[in-house]
């Protein structure tokens, strides 16, 4: 496995951390750029542990200028960008009658606009290289569209559609674009759930357990590997069997 340059957004969160570790474990020569915003404690800890193999980069994913700046910085340092993992995201759940327009816009911007800006920023480099791997972290909500998540489900369904459309555009250039739809994963996103809610959710998961960030991370790493060269436009569920 040849060494690669990888950029992961939302790298301070539980899933971002697991993805970063998966790439660090894959090859001692991989270099991981950790896209972070104000909260960066966990990302900084990872950099402290692997100072020569990863670095934080401030990246406000909703801002195209921030993306351009980040990609320029990476290209100046490494002259290559092999893998982009669009992982940053957030949700603000509410039933539609109570959902503010601000909550709608913010969730669309963070989850969907960010993927557009990220892909657009890295494509010139990947086209010039004539290879690249883009993995977009969508959500099971894109496929199940649960009540209370009109904004989040719409945004993530948009990510899936963007993934499939872009995959067709760049397939012949050696760039693959795939999406992963994690189900209920043990991250900070589940911390707001009551014990009763947790039991209810577990009852709907055929495996009767929540997934771990590492179990999503290996799927990301697989889609990014050289051997996955014929897989593009795919949507991979990692959800313990929910459908």
């Amino acid at each position: 496995m040849s060494a690669r340059i990888i950029l992961i957004t939302g790298a301070n969160g539980g899933l971002g951390q697991a993805i970063a570790r998966a790439f660090l474990d894959e090859n001692p020569d991989n270099f991981v750029w950790l896209g972070v915003r104000a909260n960066r404690q966990h990302a900084d800890e990872l950099v402290a542990k692997f100072p020569k193999r990863c670095r934080c980069i401030v990246l406000e994913v909703t801002q195209p200028d921030a993306w351009r700046s980040a990609v320029s910085q990476i290209m100046a340092a490494d002259n290559s960008l092999d893998v982009l993992v669009n992982n940053a995201g957030r949700h603000q759940d509410a039933l539609m009658p109570n959902m503010s327009w601000a909550a709608w816009k913010e969730v669309l911007q963070t989850n969907l606009d960010s993927v557009f800006h990220g892909c657009q920023a890295v494509l010139p480099a990947m086209i010039a290289q004539r290879h690249g791997r883009i993995i977009n972290i969508a959500s099971l909500s894109a496929l199940l569209a649960p009540a209370g998540q009109t904004n989040y489900a719409a945004a993530k369904a948009g990510v899936v559609a963007l993934t499939q459309s872009l995959a067709k555009e760049v397939a012949r250039i050696g760039i693959t674009v795939n999406a992963i739809c994690p189900g209920y994963i043990q991250t900070e996103a589940l911390t707001g759930m009551s014990e009763e809610e947790r039991k209810g959710v577990l009852g709907r998961i055929p495996m009767r357990r929540f997934g771990t960030p590492a179990e999503v991370a290996v799927a990301v790493r697989f889609l990014a590997c050289a051997e996955a060269s014929y897989i593009t436009g795919s949507v991979l569920k990692v959800d313990g069997g929910i459908f």
Binding site: P124, I127, A128, E169, I173
Partner: protein, 89 residues
């Protein structure tokens, strides 16, 4: 300054390699349209690749769709844009 014919040859070779064209560089006419009827049959994805390749190989920026429409007509229009860029540099 690079000879114009040499430049045309480099562009044609770049097109064959980057766009994986099913013909050789000498088979591409200097004035042959890139898109549309009687053309090389390129599409929008090929155009995207050409824009990136022109920047990478010749330092030619194609800043917007209007410029792309003007520059990406034929090998000759690409050569003219590169030569113009060199003169203005």
């Amino acid at each position: 300054m690079e000879d114009v014919n040499e430049l045309k040859q480099r562009i044609k070779t770049m097109m064959v390699e980057n766009l994986m064209l099913q013909l050789s560089a000498p088979e591409i006419g200097d004035d042959q349209p890139l898109f549309g009827p009687g053309s090389l049959g390129l599409d929008s994805v090929d155009a995207l690749q050409l824009v990136v390749a022109l920047d990478k190989n010749f330092g030619l920026k194609v800043p917007d769709p209007a410029a792309a429409k003007e520059i990406l007509q034929s090998v000759n229009t690409m050569v003219a844009a590169i030569m113009r860029g060199k003169r203005e540099a």
